[in-house]
Symmetry: C2
Subunit: 592 residues, 2 copies
Amino acid sequence: MPTYTAPIADQVFVLEEMLGVSRQDVPGYGDMDRDTLTAILEEAGKVASEVMAPLNAVGDTQGCVLENGVVRTPDGFKAAFDAVREGGWTALDCDPEYGGQGLPYVVATAVGEQFSAANMAFNMYQGLTHGAYSAIHAHGTDDQKATYLPKMVTCEWTGTMNLTEPHCGTDLGLMRTKAVPQEDGTYKVTGQKIFISAGDHDMSENVIHLVLAKIPGGPDGIKGVSLFIVPKFIVEDGQPGARNSVSVGKLEEKMGIHGNATCVMNYDEATGYLLGEEHKGMRAMFTMMNEARVGVGLQGYAQAEVAYQNALIYAKDRLQGRDVTGAKNPDGPADPLIVHPDIRRNLLDQKSFVEGARAFAYWGASLIDRAHRCEDKAADGLVSLMTPVVKGFLTDKGFEMATQAQQVYGGHGYIEEWGMSQFARDARIAMIYEGANGVQALDLVGRKLAQDGGKHVMAFFAQVTDFIKETKGRSEAFDKDFREPLKAASKDLQAAGMYFMQNGMKNPNAALSGSYDFMHLMGHVCLGLMWAKMAVTAEDKLAEGTGDADFYKTKIATGRYYMARQLPMTTTHLRRIESGADPVMSLDAEQF
Amino acid sequence: MPTYTAPIADQVFVLEEMLGVSRQDVPGYGDMDRDTLTAILEEAGKVASEVMAPLNAVGDTQGCVLENGVVRTPDGFKAAFDAVREGGWTALDCDPEYGGQGLPYVVATAVGEQFSAANMAFNMYQGLTHGAYSAIHAHGTDDQKATYLPKMVTCEWTGTMNLTEPHCGTDLGLMRTKAVPQEDGTYKVTGQKIFISAGDHDMSENVIHLVLAKIPGGPDGIKGVSLFIVPKFIVEDGQPGARNSVSVGKLEEKMGIHGNATCVMNYDEATGYLLGEEHKGMRAMFTMMNEARVGVGLQGYAQAEVAYQNALIYAKDRLQGRDVTGAKNPDGPADPLIVHPDIRRNLLDQKSFVEGARAFAYWGASLIDRAHRCEDKAADGLVSLMTPVVKGFLTDKGFEMATQAQQVYGGHGYIEEWGMSQFARDARIAMIYEGANGVQALDLVGRKLAQDGGKHVMAFFAQVTDFIKETKGRSEAFDKDFREPLKAASKDLQAAGMYFMQNGMKNPNAALSGSYDFMHLMGHVCLGLMWAKMAVTAEDKLAEGTGDADFYKTKIATGRYYMARQLPMTTTHLRRIESGADPVMSLDAEQF
């Protein structure tokens, strides 16, 4: 049975030492000193390891069941959900006005990583609720906020997001769900939505659905879409009242995340309340979706983290073969797997990805805090640029790494009992939902690069270039192991951007054919930058002689691995991008 | 529900036009003219599509069940197995002396691809039998051959291979299963074997287990391992007689291939018959294992083929979004997915891999024919070199491509009902069994490169170099699109080989740290060579003006895609290899 241990030392390293959270001039950050951070993460880590992780396999094996129209969650989920709720873990970064704790988003992100690693399917119930909370918080009337938010902050009521219909996913303009205005100001919502995570369950008193629908007579396509609050039980005097006409049509059988109820939801003249403005539903939904995308990126590397932890335990424990340079366990029948270079290569791929991803995710989260708490437009622009990279790159690599972790177990990795298959199967969805990764790449290259005249991508390039300048002459080792590789990778990224500028205007397909590679190229440069920054921090700490020297040395060695063995992918991505549209577009559809 | 259609035109293109099977001077090849090949593949294709494919989802959903010590296969499996057997499909390349049809292995390989694509779990029952047949055929006494082979050729009796034990997989020297000699020349076999595919089932009269075990008093480790025939029912007068003391301890719950029974087998003083010589069991087992490894490589790309076929259907059918350069389906609500560059990129990754892999696998199979039927030592050496590449590269990429195919479906790809998850889950095992791919890489770099003084790898380099020389000045397009990229990739491969030669002697870890990358680098060069050869064939056919011009043009365009967008991976692999042992080996086990 796999286990999970919160990687607190590394989390604190990134938050406190690399990002210097408590030293940043962001409201709320000053309180987050090392001791406070450590205390929060240790408490959260206990919940993750002791409450959530033991239910991960249970959730996978039992799955959710639809009984008489109501979803029953796996054994133990409700008690665990109550414990999480009562511990205040659902309210971390929520608005104190509605019962939240007002902690920085970056801290909630670190906790979210733990919860997601421990039990992804379980943690989605609160994750979706938080997304719905954010949409109502940003776009709701005071009355709506007062009605829904306090109960959603505590997860007494949970939330969902309803976008997809059987015939439309990415292309929401094709939507058929209708919302007909009523005389009392409410709407009657009718239609079918699919793939609704946490669509129904037995762990909360009410489910607050946010539903995209079209008001008849509005503009065609995506411009005529509005967002509605459709509660499972109509709220009367602050309490769940009459049953609304929304029902679960079916539970989907999925490859993974069996512990989360993925529902077909049927709305049959259900009572809905407009959230935000008429026909501006996508704007409100994007509040939720951008947050959800960052959260999904977190899921990607969180599954890789827990898979890595277990692969490492197995690699140290399992005796098989001998070190070619001489027995390391001469008294035993064989050496542990970890002596073998290819097992190390596999483990270091995982370790160097996960730690780089963690730094990237927390950096992104700190920019979100800056955007929201300091109204920093530059930070906001950077977040908007990075969101598809966080989502697309971290989930692709997260799945790949979970699959590699499975490989360490040999045949046992394929047997469900050992739990490694579940990590890979669960991680797989993160590449798909909240916008399949191809759509993220399209968003990045088709929209985000050119946004505000290309200002944000230029700002990112400048950050990298400045860092390279600032660290010139730091040390020979840093130069060779970090600075030069980062410089080369960032040159590849800029060359790719240049290629798009020069060719994408004449032929959009020249850019779009390389969009997926660009997303990965940029992901590698981001992780390369994070690793170089972590190396600087670790070198400084070693020079100061404070802290755990072994931790810092390991950090530098792990980073060196990333720079030497992962970062060179940028060259291949660039070559693919520069091959242009022709190889991709030359076949007619019939020739495939 | 997914479908499967045998890709006969492409199979015949590779066999007849590219490899020129009927024109090769190999016994049995002369009869394999285009019409004969087409007829065989069409008949096999019907069995694949109509008998096997419809049971693929059934097998996945129902799985195998252990009832009162006997494994029950999913509904319909037995009737289908009878049909396959009665159609003679289990006997294609078997020895006519024992009831086989004596067809070339390369033809059986093409049929095997179809069967494996249509229903991997189902086809394994006969695949394992064929492996056991080969081991008995090569190492058995006349009496053993007469007793077992005729029934195994028809699959009235099926076979298994028993290597792994709970505490040892790759490191078989740790084996505990014992075989104690008896006065009558038989042995009493006692021990537990795990991961035994097709270990028991209800589709055959008898199961012939080939079991590795140690004879007490023999040499330590792997040198004291012998191979035994242990039938489920002892054969008496050519018929299954008394029940042997071998039993199924458990059926494993796996990530995929649910239709195949993966058994824990318990041997409790079971009667066994020595196959081959005492303590030379590994030699006999390798006969079986090398064949099995090539077969597993086939499974890898076969799953990618069927996944691609279905992804393509979906991409043409599903309407979502608009072509950025102008609507392609202006009268419909949206354009089909296939208009989008990133969907094409995804599909072309799959298509160009599968077709390249097919050529590579058939080329390998034709070398096996040459080795066996012409006693061609050079061919035998090349096969031995290529086996880990066929197994490791084709299964890694096969799984990756099946995962990409799943991605085309968006959310539906994650829902089991649509069948795309099964292709990925089934394909996953191919990276693990018959030697995990890391072990294949070790075999390639640690053994095969230096085998016979490096003769075989030099022969392969020479083949590539000669081809590059011969095709000089062929055409400007060929030069730019195929010859130059192949030349660059083969330079990367040779540089990697050189790095190993210069560094691997001093420090074996310098080579082993790059073994996995070398396996992939070599795989890409092999597929690049195949694509360049296919392009030559297609160009020649176009110049001749015979055949289906559209087919040849598509072939060239698909190859161009591979060369432009897949082959550049060789650069990254080389850079990783040349980073050497240090990044991989510098951490102590405790520092991970």
